[in-house]
Structures are given as C-alpha cells and as structure tokens.
C-alpha cells in the first residue's frame, strides 16, 4: 500500500497499552482508510472497545501513536482534544442515550452545545437525522420507551448529528433481533456511503461484518492476527483466523480456561 497520508482517516502505529500489569495490546499497527467501513473483530474480552476509547482519546496508550486527520491523539492537550473530537463520533454498545431527555433532545444535544443555531434550524437538522434512521415519528418518546433496536438507531442519529468525519461503532449488532440487526447493517453502510464518512465497526458477529466491511482486522492475543478484505480472510490459512471465522469451539483459542491438569485435580491434587 502506498504511504500517502490523506488516504487514511486514522493511523495507529506501534501502539502498546496495558491495564495494570495485564497487557492489552503490544505494538499493533492499523490503518483505517477514508470513506470505507473497516471492521475490527476478535473474541470478546480482548479490548476491542478499549481500542475505540484510545482513538477517542479517553484513555492514553503506554506508547505509540494514533493519528487522526493529522493530529496525534495521545499528545493533544485537553482543549485541542475536545476540538478534534467534534470531528468524530461514537455509537456505544448500550446506545447511551441521555435518559432524562426525549429522543429529539438527545439528537439536538450536541448541536445545541456546540453551535448557536436558532431553534428552527436545529429542528430541521434533527428531523433530517431522525428521518435517516427512520425514527422521525418517535421524536417525543423518552429513551425508556424505546426498544433496544430503536434506542440504537436513535443513538445513531445522535452520533451523526454534527456530521462527523469518523464514526466508531461499538458492537452495533450485539443483542439485536434479526430484523433490527438487518436495519442497522443497512444503516451503517448507507450512512457511510451517503455522508462520505469513515466507519470503524467493532464486532464479533462474523456474517454481518463480512457483508458490509471493506477491510477487516482480526485481533487476538494483544496483536493483529489477520487482516484483509472479507474475501481474503475467508481463504486465510491461519488456524486462529479460521477458528474465529467459522466459530469452532476449540482450536488455537482453547475452550478451557487455563487450569491444572484435569485428572490431577479430580484426584484431589495428589501427584
């Protein structure tokens, strides 16, 4: 791949991060091309969400750089970081709608905070975003009145309220019924193409990701174990990648948590 910078929205180089004594990432390198949907997959519990938080600057890595549109996120001061964050957006797993506001106010929240637009323009903007996710009719509902799928779509409308350049999805498909899963898959792809934004999708739902991703990274054991387009990955010969892609219960990622020898333990530890 050529090294020209503008081609990528986010570039991660030599990134290491550990939580306490436990290393999460060691020296990983990733690139997220502009205007494309890039997926990050991997077994649960390996810190995929952590990676999104690193990109968002909510936590700082031990070493390495994360460059977003020319800014190295970990080195930014507070003020600059907040400025840069206005260009990115994140859809949280739970939706994270503000529980004390209606759907409309949730979507309008960021617009009201960051701009001084008059209320009728805000109204138009919010209705546009809600129309895009199909929830224009639900604008007066409170978050607790929404179903899980609707809450996520409302959160999606909120995430695109200020037309970000980058949008990160944290497990957008988790816990959704097949219909709303299909809706969200379609929305992610649609928004990506129509708004020209860069999408990063963190997920472990293989078929959904395969259907929309332009490029996929698979992470396990603190590093990238496989990358490529969905087609390339399907024919990847690494056993780890294959285990994950096909969902085999046992393989390089063991079924059993690290333990003493089974027979020894059953015999009461007599050696």
């Amino acid at each position: 791949m050529p090294e020209s910078i503008p081609q990528y929205s986010v570039e991660i180089e030599q990134l290491s991060f550990s939580r306490g004594d436990r290393p999460i990432y060691t020296d990983i390198n990733m690139r997220f091309p502009k205007g494309k949907v890039t997926a990050i997959m991997g077994p649960s519990g390996i810190g995929k969400t952590t990676l999104l938080r690193l990109i968002g600057g909510q936590i700082k890595p031990d070493s390495g750089s994360i460059v977003f549109r020319g800014h190295n996120i970990p080195t930014l001061g507070r003020k600059k970081l907040y400025q840069v964050r206005q260009d990115m957006s994140m859809l949280f797993q739970s939706g994270a709608l503000f529980t004390d506001m209606s759907v409309f106010d949730n979507v309008a929240f960021a617009i009201r905070e960051h701009t001084k637009l008059p209320e009728d323009i805000i109204r138009t903007m919010v209705l546009l975003k809600l129309e895009a996710v199909g929830l224009r009719g639900a604008r007066d509902l409170m978050p607790h009145e929404l179903s899980g799928g609707m809450a996520r779509r409302a959160a999606l409308a909120r995430a695109i309220a200020l037309d970000p350049k980058l949008i990160m999805y944290d497990e957008p498909f988790a816990g959704q019924d097949p219909i709303s899963m299909g809706v969200i898959v379609r929305l992610i792809k649609q928004l990506n193409d129509s708004l020209g934004l860069t999408s990063i999708v963190v997920s472990h739902d293989v078929p959904e990701v395969m259907s929309i991703a332009d490029y996929v990274y698979i992470i396990a054991d603190q590093r990238v174990i496989g990358k490529g387009t969905p087609k390339e990955l399907l024919i990847n010969e690494s056993p780890l990648v294959q285990q994950f892609m096909q969902g085999l219960p046992d393989g390089p990622v063991p079924f059993h948590y690290k333990a003493e020898d089974y027979h020894c333990e059953l015999l009461g530890g007599i050696k």
Partner: protein, 260 residues
Amino acid sequence: MILNMFQSVGEAVFDRFAGVGRASIMLFGALFGIPNFRKGFPLFVKQVYVVGVQSLTIIMVSGLFIGMVLALQGYTVLVDYGAEDSLGPMVGLSLLRELGPVVTGLLFAGRAGSALTAEIGLMKSTEQLSSMEMMAIDPLRRVVAPRFWAGLFCMPLLAIIFSTIGIFGGHLVGVEWLGIDAGNFWSIMQSKVDLVDDVFNGVIKSIVFAIVVTWIALYKGYNAIPTADGISKATTDTVVQASLAVLGLDFVLTVFMFGG
C-alpha cells in the same frame, strides 16, 4: 510479615491521597467550568429544583417536629427551675446554631446526596458520561458543575427554612400548648439571639456542609464502579461519609465559632 503490614498500610495511605487528589481535580474541573451563563443557568435552575425543591418537604416536616420536640423536652427541664420563659432562646439558639445546619446536612446527604451519587453513577454505567465526552462535551462542566453549584446554593436556604419552621414548631408547643407567654417567648429570644453571631454563623456552617456533602456525593458518583453493585456501594458511601463529615466538621466549626 511485618514488612507486608507496613507495605499494606503504606498503600492504603497512598490510596487515600490518590482519592483526595482525584476528588480535588474533579472539583477543580467542575468549578472552573460553567462555560457560559446562557447555557449554564437553565441547567443550574433545573438542579436547584432537583436538589432543593424536592428536599423541601422532608426539611420542613423534620424542622417542625424537631422544633416541637425541643420545646417539649426543654419545657420539662426548665419548668423545674421556673425558667420556662427561657424556652424561646433555648429552642431558637439550638436550632440556629446546631440543629438547623447539622440536621439539614444529614437529611440533605440522605435525600439529595444519595440521589446525586446514584444518578451520576448510573450515567457513568450506561456510558452517558463517556458518550458526552466523545461528543466533545466535558461531563464535569455539563453534569457535575451545575449540580455542585445547586447543592451549594440550596443547602443554606434549606437550613434557614428548617430553623425558621423549627422555631415556629417550638412556638406551637411552648406557647399554644404549654401556655408560656407569647410575648416572653419572642422577646427573650430576641434579646438572646444575635443576627451575626447566631444566624450568620449557622448559615456559614451550612455553607461548609453544603460544599462537603455535595462534593462527596458527586465524587462518589463520578468515581463509582459502573456496575449495579458499585453504584449501590457508592450511594451508601456517600450517605455514611457525608454524614460523618458533617458531624465532625460541626464540632470543629463550633469550637471556632462558639468555643472561644
């Protein structure tokens, strides 16, 4: 063995320091941060409603009853010395100097403090604070600061209302029921109660309690472990620590104000 003990004690001490440090940084971030008046003021008003208006009932009812009980108990002691006319100042001074600020502080910790902790803890656990941060909106300024100012604003007002209603409660029992002369009740109280020494010192106390209780409540919520268990523990911590802080500080302040 002993070395281990020293080490764990040392670690505990450092943990305390770290906690105080985090809490101070949080307060600092919150205080220097209502970004502009136009956006900040409605948030403040809303929190005054949540923190102040919604605590009003419990404060008024408690004030009334405490004033009445004070009068009843005080009367039975004072009447033995023929000094029941001093019931007015007894009720007034104990409410203004001690019970008003302290009981308001304790009730505030239980009513508003625990609610603040739970609310912010819940916002944290449902990633609302994180998502705010990702929207480039500082949750310290948007969420913590208005609540802190509202707490600071409301508690002295609640304490004043508490004392006033308590004094009327004392009047109700002392004058209407036990038959002390109303003129004596008020005039002796007036001659004993000083606006600066008693009323204002009481208000100063309640301002100090307001800072401490609100601060503890917000810090505990902001720093809660984002699980159901963690939030319930943080809420309990708020009530226990804020109550102890109120009682401890009350002693210190009383020594400074009335001890010398």
